[in-house]
């Protein structure tokens, strides 16, 4: 949250935090140009919300302690000494992103909310765009499998190089994923080598790979191909 001095067209600068009364905070700002000062005063609900963020407005003056927020806000907290620990020492080797980078927007509060996952979209951060007609068709699928179908359709679309899901893409997906694949006796026999509780997952994954290859049958050759692909995935 920032304040802008509209007369000077400048962000007002944070000065200090005061506690003018129980359950209230006064956060003072100063316009760097016209030197106007004012204080934003919070009500008890807003004060609690700011405290719940777990940050010290204006920055830290002491080293962080383990469970600092929890201990400060818990009513029936056990009493035990808590030495401060060096967070920065623990972070050695991890480059600190600069303020205002991609980890959040320009507002620290909106960044916090974003970092907590509020507003997660059904499509997820890397979800593709869908046409209205395609979304209508998706809505007809029972809700408990809809997210899975959505993810699979999008994965399928990506394999074809598309970034937009249309009705035509859904038709292609349906044709590509529901067409029966034949299994040769040898391939079926080899599938039996997989523990029974993960066999359905294995079958599905191999059929997906076979469809990507444009095959209509899972043969011993396809099993060799899948085995090599999995070995490569494992770095073998």
């Amino acid at each position: 949250m920032k304040f802008v001095c509209l007369n000077c067209e400048a962000f007002m600068l944070f000065q200090k935090v005061e506690k003018p009364g129980e359950g209230t905070l006064g956060v003072e700002f100063l316009c760097p140009t016209c030197k106007a000062r004012f204080s934003m005063v919070t009500n008890p609900g807003e004060t609690q919300m700011v405290q719940a963020l777990g940050v010290k407005i204006g920055g830290r003056t002491t080293a962080p302690e383990a469970f600092e927020l929890t201990r400060e806000t818990l009513k029936d907290s056990a009493e035990c000494p808590v030495p401060a620990f060096s967070a920065s020492a623990g972070l050695a080797g991890i480059p600190a992103p600069s303020s205002g980078d991609a980890s959040g927007g320009s507002c620290p509060f909106s960044s916090m909310v974003a970092s907590m996952g509020a507003g997660t979209s059904a499509a997820g951060p890397a979800g593709l765009e869908w046409s209205a007609e395609a979304l209508d068709r998706l809505a007809k699928i029972p809700d408990f499998v809809r997210p899975t179908v959505r993810t699979e359709v999008e994965a399928y679309a990506r394999t074809t190089g598309e970034s937009f899901v249309t009705q035509a893409m859904l038709d292609l997906y349906k044709k590509g994923t529901t067409a029966e694949l034949a299994w040769s006796p040898e391939a079926s026999q080899r599938l039996e080598n997989i523990p029974f509780f993960i066999r359905p997952m294995a079958k599905k994954e191999i059929e997906r790979m076979a469809r990507e290859e444009g095959r209509t049958e899972v043969s011993a050759d396809m099993m060799d191909h899948a085995k090599t692909a999995f070995a490569k995935f494992m770095g073998g």
Binding site: L6, N7, E9, A10, F11, L13, V27, T33, G45, M49, Q51, L53, G54, V55, I57, R60, A66, F67, E68, L69, T70, R71, T73, K75, D76, S77, A78, C80, V82, F85, A87, S88, G90, A96, P97, S99, S103, G104, P108, F109, S115, M116, G117, A122, F144, V145, T148, T151, N193, I194, P195, F197, M201, A202, I206, A226, K227, F230, F233, G236
Partner: protein
């Protein structure tokens, strides 16, 4: 200076200063979590849409099963308001050991390291109450709990672990799974606990969909209270009518195992004296579930070897 410009124009010219140092602290929090979690090989959450299905009992016994396999295991009790992992492991009343490196978790049976809100409360019976008037806004309470979870992830000096099991509170659409998924993008997956009751499986379906929706892979289902294990004759009979295997097929998730209700196991949890004898039939069941979890996580490796 012209005051006639609109706000959008003005903001377009300005660079945001983080002079209140809020952004920097939030970034530091995230990095601290990354640093701690980077030393843990596998992270699994145990969840369910329904309460009372045995999540904590499953978590505790799975932790023991993995510890029996020689793994360094940690258990994070994320049930902030009803923590019961310490009691089940006979660790009630223990405290974190505060060190300059963070809070060291108490060590329980088979070397399992445990973190729980229970260790921060004044006594075993003290409820979790927060300072301030909570009735003012449930929004701040949710935000506070997320930051408390963040502190559990960031401030505990687990050391090197092979596995961290997090016992989540009940709730299909609660805020905890997305919060954890956000803090732990490298989460290996969720073990979902259910009972065969149709009422429960209906809600559990929702939690599986919800977990996938927030990006948590579902490792599989554990059917708890799958039957009643008679302590006298050893016979097992049904407690509920339901078909969890059909639910697993519908949801396309593996069945990890069935755990019947066993009085001895239940009493052992209540007394805080976990059964660790690897010859015990219930222990064998959990060992099998643990093996299946390992197999599911190493799914592609198994395919590469066995196809």
């Amino acid at each position: 200076m012209s005051p006639s410009n609109d706000l959008k124009t003005i903001l377009g010219k300005l660079q945001f200063p983080d002079d209140a140092q809020v952004m920097r602290q939030i970034v530091d929090h995230t990095l601290q979590v990354k640093m701690r979690m980077g030393r843990i090989k596998r992270k699994i959450v145990v969840m369910s849409g329904k309460g009372g299905v045995g999540k904590s009992m499953t978590t505790v016994n799975l932790a023991l099963a993995f510890a029996r396999r020689g793994q360094a295991v940690g258990v994070l009790d994320v049930d902030l308001n009803g923590p019961c992992v310490p009691k089940m492991l006979g660790m009630s009343g223990r405290r974190f050991d505060s060190t300059p490196n963070g809070a060291t978790p108490p060590v329980g049976p088979l070397g399992i390291r445990v973190a729980s809100m229970d260790f921060l409360l004044r006594d075993e019976h003290a409820p979790v109450r927060w300072k301030g008037s909570m009735e003012l806004s449930p929004v701040w309470l949710g935000m506070l709990e997320m930051n408390v979870i963040r502190e559990f992830l960031a401030d505990i000096a687990w050391g090197e672990l092979d596995l961290l099991l997090a016992d989540l509170p009940p709730g299909a659409a609660a805020d905890k799974p997305p919060a954890l998924a956000n803090f732990l993008p490298e989460l290996d997956g969720a073990v979902v606990v259910t009972t065969p009751s149709e009422v429960t499986t209906d809600v559990v379906r929702k939690s599986v969909v919800y977990a996938r929706d927030v990006g948590i892979p579902v490792i599989g289902l554990v059917e708890n209270m799958s039957g009643y294990h008679c302590p006298q004759c050893g016979h097992e009979s049904d407690l509920f009518v339901g078909d969890v295997e059909a639910v697993a097929r519908d949801l396309d998730v593996p069945m990890l195992g069935k755990i019947p209700f066993d009085r001895e196991l239940s009493l052992s949890c209540d007394r805080g004296e976990p059964i660790i004898d690897s010859g015990h039939p219930m222990v064998k069941r959990f060992d099998e579930v643990a093996q299946r979890i390992v197999d599911c996580l190493n799914f592609k490796e198994i395919l590469a070897k066995n196809l």
